[in-house]
């Protein structure tokens, strides 16, 4: 595994080198062609000029137009490279279990950056704020909001807000002031940074980064409350950071003397406007999405798109209004999750979920890789030991102080206080990430002379927190014995108790006359159920909105699934079905006879019968039927799915491409026939190969007829059916083509269940024109289930197989179908004897049976 990983890694490296070199070549060509372009680091400008400068001399058959595709090509290529990097990293589990993936991705970025640097002598690629804030960040945050555990979040909202607002302000102010103080004290030499600029720097360093936090905490699995505190804070403090950053940026532009009380008050006001405005925009868009999904029934294929597009629009709208874009998209996701999950089709919900994760995970990967790449750039590296080390120290220390102080205050009001170890992890989890870097790059070099020092320090802080703290996080969590998240399994009892419990708490609050969380929650729930759901949810979806029922449904499905797997394990789905129907029948008759016996009992025989038949286990019996009911429906789907997957699939899937909006299973007669014939051929091959061992059917040694006939007596000692083909062991392989043709000729009734090609093998050439008995019964068409894939591979030809399949015979495949199967063999034998007969060497394994 490891070596494979390395190999891949080097492959990747060499591919990458080619990629890096090729733009250089392209540019070199441009210069040689006489256009007066220099090798410049921005390759965009070349594109247009190149187009003009090339003079056409004739029609080129093949032309190499690198600049034509350069930008999208590079984008796609970088995405590919980042993904491959992730693939390599994730292949080594023992590495990722120690070092978090984000840290590894950054290191991967270092290597890539080094390669580019070596090839190019200048860093062509780096993470620009535009790309980061417009194309990479939104989906990560949307995903976070969409998958937010709402109840947990709002229960802890107070604590989260305190940390996000006050904590961030504290971090910014303390860092800025302390650095300024240190400079005054002469700790870092001669730097041209004023107090306001320090505060600006402090404000961009203050925010805990959501991307980094998700990446690290995801792998640690701390308990829910701790996670939501850190994660919620990292999401919400963006509003604060953006405001602080903008305010200080404005102050720096204004210059110290012009700042008066009015400006400061404006700054504070703008904080509330930005934060609440952003959230409001998000809520509006969230409601819009919910409303839209109410009526997307007819365009199911693109309905997942609405969530992404509107989510992105909410981000952009907030950005346009200079409100907090991150808050906007978080609240958009949180607000719509419940309603779209209820409104949309199950498939669309799954699509949204997966696509969301794919986007988020993908851009997270790219972000970390590019954070690494950006480091390898000589331009930004300005070393100032004092500044960098002091920043690191202050970031860490003030985070600890802030968290402990704020939690101390909060704990006086919390019902369940945060423990000491939780506080340590919260402080230690204050990871800085790409947001800080993006903001640092956005600084204006004209106003801030030491921009590069700040960028470089930011990068070092990011690397320190993500790599070092990320690696040590897990051991720390283990060492401090932080309560970990319990692996929860849905259990109906727990769900019920939970629900009961919530109602009890509300009731007790009502009775005792306290207004607490539960009181508020129940009021909100009442409002939500009666108004919000009514407006935002489809009427049909509203019915299914019960968590308990949901769990019930899920568990039922799970049971059904297990049932099917169990059946499959035993060889056939029919087994399951058959047993099912038998039990059902028995139960039906039982209850009927019971009813007759107790005719004088009340009509409510469901309840009555259980109570009066007390010694019989009421729970298990009743339940059995309930579960059976659910199983039967789910099983039909499951079985169908299973068959679809395991049996024939080539043609049907081609079909999808023709239609973008319908997933109909095709019913074209010709195609159906083709499927049928192909399946036949496949089946036949598997028959013969199963029979001949692993040998392909054509390798048949020639035998004399006499030899073959000599074998006959051997076989005759066995029962008749066996004799009929024990002498014919190999001839069938030879006649495969003949068989095939006869199948080809087969006229097949379309619509008799072609979606399930496994039925076909039971057709015999002689029977082809008449409808086989088991297909003739119309209701079997839907209810009959064929052999599972496994059972199908080794088919009942050898006597041993015959014995193995004995239980199958009581299943839907009727006994006559079984005997029918042997008939062609006898006939085939006759025809074979007319042809040059190729009796095979007996496969050694057969001797044992004779």
């Amino acid at each position: 595994m490891l070596r494979c990983g390395y190999a891949l890694f080097w492959l990747l490296g060499s591919v990458l080198l080619i990629c890096v070199v090729s733009p250089v070549k392209g540019e070199a060509v441009v210069t040689r062609e006489g256009s007066h372009l220099k090798l410049s680091e921005s390759s965009h400008s070349n594109e247009s000029q190149h187009g003009h400068s090339s003079n056409i001399t004739g029609i080129p058959i093949i032309s190499f137009k690198w600049h034509h595709v350069e930008t999208p090509y590079l984008v796609a290529f970088w995405v590919l490279v980042s993904f491959l990097g992730k693939l390599v990293i994730e292949a080594n589990h023992h590495v990722t279990s120690v070092i978090p993936e984000s840290a590894l991705l950054i290191c991967f970025g270092f290597i890539l950056g080094g390669m580019i640097w070596a090839a190019d002598k200048v860093q062509t690629f780096r993470l620009t704020p535009t790309v980061f804030f417009f194309y990479l960040l939104p989906q990560v945050i949307l995903d976070a909001g969409y998958h937010m555990p709402n109840k947990l979040f709002f229960t802890n909202l107070g604590g989260i807000l305190v940390h996000a607002v006050i904590g961030t302000c504290w971090n910014a102010a303390s860092l800025g002031l302390s650095l300024w103080g240190c400079q005054m004290g002469g700790a870092m030499g001669d730097l041209d940074i004023g107090l306001l600029q320090y505060l600006l720097f402090g404000s961009l360093m203050a925010a805990v980064d959501p991307v980094a936090v998700i990446a690290v905490f995801e792998q640690v699995h701390v308990n829910d409350v701790l996670f939501i505190m850190v994660f919620g804070e990292s999401l919400l403090n963006d509003g604060v950071t953006v405001v602080l950053f903008n305010v200080f940026d404005a102050f720096v532009s204004l210059g110290g003397p012009k700042i008066d009380a009015a400006e400061i008050i404006k700054g504070i006001v703008s904080f509330f406007v930005v934060a609440f405005g952003g959230s409001l925009v998000g809520l509006v868009f969230g409601l819009l999405i919910s409303l839209l999904t109410r009526c997307t029934k007819n365009i199911q294929i693109i309905e997942p798109g609405f969530i992404f597009v509107l989510g992105y629009l909410s981000y952009l709208t907030a950005e346009m209004l200079s409100l907090s874009a991150i808050l906007s998209i978080v609240f958009c996701g949180m607000c719509c999750q419940k309603y779209i999950n209820a409104n949309m089709d199950e498939n669309s919900v799954q699509t949204v979920r997966y696509a969301m994760k794919a986007f988020a995970n993908g851009s997270e990967t790219i972000i970390f890789v590019f954070l690494g790449i950006s480091a390898i750039d000589k331009v930004i590296w300005v070393w100032n030991t004092g500044f960098i080390l002091l920043t690191l120290l202050f970031v860490l220390v003030y985070r600890f102080i802030g968290v402990f102080f704020l939690t101390w205050i909060l704990n006086r009001y919390r019902l369940v206080p945060l423990e000491f170890v939780d506080q340590v992890i919260m402080s230690y989890g204050g990871l800085r990430g790409a947001v800080a870097y993006g903001l640092a790059v956005m600084l204006d070099e004209n106003k801030i002379k030491e921009k590069n020092l700040m960028v470089c320090t930011t990068l070092i802080v990011v690397y320190f927190t993500v790599i070092l703290q990320g690696i040590t996080m897990k051991p720390l969590v283990m060492w401090l014995k932080v309560k970990r998240a319990a692996v929860t399994e849905v259990s109906l009892l727990e769900k019920l108790t939970n629900k009961m419990f919530n109602h009890t708490l509300v009731a007790i609050e009502d009775i005792s006359g306290q207004i607490g969380h539960n009181y508020m929650r129940s009021k909100w729930k009442y409002f939500e159920e009666n108004w919000m759901s009514w407006i935002l949810m489809k009427p049909s979806a509203r019915k299914k909105q019960d968590q308990v029922f949901d769990v019930f449904h899920q568990l039922n499905l799970k049971d059904a699934m297990e049932y099917v797997t169990e059946g499959e394990r035993r060889g056939s789905l029919e087994f399951v079905r058959n047993e099912n129907s038998i039990i059902d029948f028995k139960k039906k008759s039982e209850s009927e006879s019971f009813d007759i016996n107790n005719a004088n009992m009340s009509n409510d025989h469901g309840a009555m019968s259980t109570t009066s038949r007390d010694p019989i286990p009421s729970v298990s019996l009743e339940m059995h039927e309930q579960i059976m009911k659910a199983v039967r429906e789910a099983e039909a789907i499951n079985a169908h799915h299973l068959l679809d997957q395991h049996l024939y699939k080539s043609r049907k899937q081609h079909r999808h491409r023709f239609s973008r909006s319908h997933f109909d299973i095709n019913r074209d007669e010709k195609e159906v026939q083709e499927i049928f014939q192909r399946t036949m051929r496949n089946r036949l091959k598997s028959f013969t190969s199963a029979k001949m061992g692993v040998k392909p059917p054509k390798t048949i040694v020639k035998h004399t007829q006499k030899e073959q006939q000599q074998k006959m007596p051997n076989g005759k000692s066995m029962d008749k059916a066996k004799t009929s083909y024990s002498g014919d062991e190999g001839s069938e392989g030879d006649s495969a083509s003949g068989y095939d043709q006869s199948y080809m000729r087969a006229t097949y009734r379309a619509g008799a269940g072609i979606e399930n090609p496994a039925f076909m093998p039971d057709l015999d050439p002689m029977d082809l024109l008449q409808i086989p008995p088991w297909l003739g019964e119309s209701e079997l068409d839907s209810s009959m289930v064929a052999l599972s894939h496994r059972a199908q591979v080794d088919l009942p030809r050898t006597p041993s197989n015959l014995r193995r399949l004995a239980p199958l015979r009581i299943s839907t495949r009727s006994t006559d179908s079984f005997t029918l199967e042997n008939i062609p063999d006898t006939q085939q034998m006759d025809s074979d004897q007319l042809q040059p007969p190729p009796p095979p060497p007996r496969p050694p394994r057969d001797d044992g049976y004779v």
């Binding site: 419990f501 708490l505 007790i508 006359g513 909105q545 308990v548 568990l555 009421s618 339940m623």
Partner: protein, 216 residues
């Protein structure tokens, strides 16, 4: 019952405080609420509870009100129902929902946990035979789901049955078809809700402030 005077002073509170763990202020607030509910009478009857408006939406209202009149919840090893309760019983029942104190030994934690779960168990076990039978459980679940409006009674029954079957499979293990699981005992109940952090969840914030004016 009804041992307290209508206007108890601090001394009367002190043994209540000792018994239930509430602070004097909290008891004072609760006493005010008690008088508000009982219209200044010594005792509370079931009709008084039925008058609480907010409670009207609660699907398991009946169970909760019964819990207040259940001798088992009074900490005195009694059984059966009473018709009216005094302030002391009221506070004792309330004390099941008191947040645990910050410094608790593991043993105390276990004890609170047991008490809280016992309260929950008693809400299910109406005939007080120490077993939640299927009938009893079904009844509770039907009530619980009755307000959601979208689930039929039949579904509620199915859900109760499924939950019961789940319980049986967890606590007994594999069952033969002719075996009979009679119901959930308290020991099973404890085991089933092991992961349910009841000691940190079955709590209500009892304020020292008087909010009765806000909340009718």
């Amino acid at each position: 019952m009804g041992a307290l005077q209508s206007s108890p002073g601090r001394p009367e509170y002190s043994d209540l405080a000792e018994k239930t763990g509430f602070s004097f202020e909290q008891i004072g607030v609760l006493h005010k609420r008690f008088k508000q509910l009982s219209h200044n009478e010594e005792t509370l009857r079931r009709d008084h509870f039925n008058e609480i408006d907010d409670l009207a939406f609660n699907p398991i209202r009946a169970q909760i009100i019964e819990a207040f009149f259940d001798r088992r919840n009074f900490h005195q090893n009694g059984e059966g129902k009473v018709q009216e309760i005094g302030f002391e019983e009221f506070v004792v029942v309330m004390s099941h929902f008191r947040p645990p104190s910050a410094h608790m030994t593991e043993e105390q934690r276990g004890k609170t946990r047991r008490e809280k779960l016992r309260f929950l168990f008693n809400m299910h076990d109406t005939d007080n035979d120490g077993i939640i039978t299927l009938e009893e459980y079904r009844h509770v679940v039907e009530e619980l789901l009755s307000r959601s409006g979208t689930l039929e009674k039949e579904t509620a029954k199915c859900i109760a049955d499924a939950a019961m079957l789940e319980v049986a499979s967890i606590s007994v293990g594999h069952m033969e078809p002719d075996e009979f699981y009679e119901g959930i005992t308290f020991e099973h109940f404890l085991k089933l809700l092991e992961r349910f952090e009841i000691e940190s969840r079955m709590i209500i914030r009892f304020l020292n402030m008087d909010t009765t004016t806000l909340c009718k």
